[in-house]
């Protein structure tokens, strides 16, 4: 494989078909580096001797094809394409003395290194998985012995338990803003409890609003909640038969009194 400009047109039929297969298979790649590694195999040389320029060409061709076939590529594939286009220009153009930073050759060397390292990790991963494994090739004691029944209880927890326990608490905190602010809410139960105690004294018609507890009258939010709670509680008491309720006309004050004949 030469470092020369790599022409799409000179691809053989089989190569083109291979490239198309790559595109169609794009789902199967674990990111741009994985794709580059696969492409690099078509060069049939040791990764140390790989032509990064040719590889960049292949990759850009791949992206071009994908676009042509209207296949959406994930952003990181496009980022890699942009970077490779940059690398290509660095490799082809004479170095600009005013430019600092790594040279094209250095960038290319790093990419080759990354590919070689990824390939190496794949190789050792395969070696690792090919080792004898516990529970498959060799085995631990099947019958752990319990000789003396001395009942000593220990408590255990794993780091995972610990971290999840902590996370549980912390995320509960994060949640706090979404919890309703209980300060300004009066429940019907609370109103009911209160009114049951007060109603005994009210033999005459009294405005329901006078039953609002102290501190719940001025603040609009609290007043709204307390009014609703008191009204609901009053309805409950009417239902229970302990009070009567009336309203002269629409929007007139609502009045309640203890039911005269107990």
């Amino acid at each position: 494989m030469s470092e020369d400009e790599f022409q799409a047109d000179v691809l053989s039929v089989s190569e083109r078909m291979a490239a198309e297969a790559l595109v169609v298979d794009v789902e199967g790649y674990e990111g741009p580096l994985d794709l580059l590694l696969t492409l690099s195999r078509t060069q049939k040389v040791d990764l140390r001797q790989i032509s990064v320029l040719a590889l960049a060409e292949q990759y850009l061709l791949f992206v071009e094809k994908a676009r042509h076939l209207r296949i959406e590529l994930a952003a990181d594939y496009l980022v890699m394409a942009a970077w490779l286009a940059f690398l290509k220009s660095r490799l082809l153009l004479p170095p600009d003395p005013s430019e600092d930073g790594p040279s094209g050759e250095e960038l290319a060397a790093h990419l080759a290194f990354q590919l070689e390292r990824l390939q190496a990790m794949r190789d050792v991963a395969a070696k690792l998985m090919a080792r004898d494994q516990k529970g498959r090739d060799f085995f631990a004691r099947g019958q752990v012995e319990v000789v003396e029944r001395r009942r000593r209880i220990t408590y255990t927890a794993t780091l995972l338990d610990l971290m999840q326990g902590y996370a549980r608490i912390r995320t509960r905190d994060e949640f706090r803003p979404f919890v309703m602010d209980r300060d300004a809410v009066m429940t019907m139960e609370a109103a009911l409890d209160r009114m049951r105690g007060l109603i005994g004294f009210a033999g005459d018609w009294t405005d329901i609003m006078s039953y609002l507890p102290e501190g719940w009258v001025t603040d609009p939010a609290r007043r709204r909640s307390a009014t609703a709670a008191n009204f609901a509680a009053s309805l409950e008491l009417v239902k229970a038969g302990s009070i009567e309720m009336r309203q002269g006309e629409t929007f007139a004050p609502i009045q309640i009194r203890r039911k005269p004949n107990d």
């Binding site: 004691r141 319990v146 003396e148 000593r152 209880i153 408590y155 780091l159 549980r168 905190d173």
Partner: protein
């Protein structure tokens, strides 16, 4: 007591191991003994001769292999015993006193204890009041006592604040148990989340509100900044 040389088990009775064993020829007795040994060791239950026969290559004679194996383990720390009509490897009775470790019954720590422990680990030194504030519920005395008894937490220095409350810190034993070099190595929320250990939830505006200024002091809270 056996008297074969240890490393060459099969020398006495067993013929030399044939390079290529015939498909229908039983493995040498030394090999059979190894097989029985491995099966007895790995089985959760005592194993019958019938079962050994079924598992071992055709033509094997587990009964004979068992005789050799039992002899080999005579006087050792473990021995081959007959349990009903099955066989198992058991600790020599005189060494039973070494086994108490295995009789320990492990139970999961309660959720309250785990949470309390976690708070101490992440915020140490921390007072009881602070633990309660973070958990949002009061901490029972039993929980703290249990953790102290397990030697996972201990009293730290008193806080220089009104009432001089005691603080709690985690112990070396705690670090050993959890395989940590220091409490600082505990992962932060963000890391928990990115490791998938924290359910992600649709967060409102703040994707990761990491502020925990409630304790404001020099505790481990800094771990959550970033």
């Amino acid at each position: 007591m056996t008297d074969e040389t240890e490393t060459e088990p099969e020398t006495d009775t067993v013929p030399p191991v044939p390079e290529e064993e015939s498909l229908f020829e039983a493995p040498p007795m030394g090999e059979q003994e190894r097989m029985v040994e491995a099966v007895l060791f790995a089985s959760a239950e005592p194993v019958t001769v019938a079962e050994l026969t079924a598992r071992m290559p055709h033509g094997s004679d587990p009964s004979e292999a068992l005789v050799h194996l039992r002899k080999r383990y005579e006087g050792r720390g473990v021995r081959v015993v007959k349990v009903g009509d099955a066989y198992a490897i058991r600790t020599a009775p005189d060494l039973g006193y070494l086994m108490h470790k295995e009789t320990v019954e492990a139970r999961k720590l309660s959720r309250a204890a785990i949470e309390t422990l976690a708070i101490i680990a992440y915020h140490q030194p921390v007072t009881r009041a602070e633990i309660e504030e973070i958990r949002g519920v009061s901490v029972s005395r039993g929980t703290v006592d249990q953790l102290i008894e397990m030697e996972w937490i201990r009293f730290g220095r008193r806080r220089m604040s009104p009432g001089r409350p005691v603080t709690f810190v985690v112990t070396q034993g705690f670090l050993d148990h959890f395989g940590l070099e220091s409490a600082r190595d505990l992962p932060g929320l963000k890391e928990l989340r990115s490791a998938g250990l924290l359910e992600s939830r649709p967060q409102a505006e703040t994707p990761d509100a990491e502020e925990d200024d409630d304790m404001g002091d020099a505790g481990q809270s800094e771990l959550f900044e970033e």
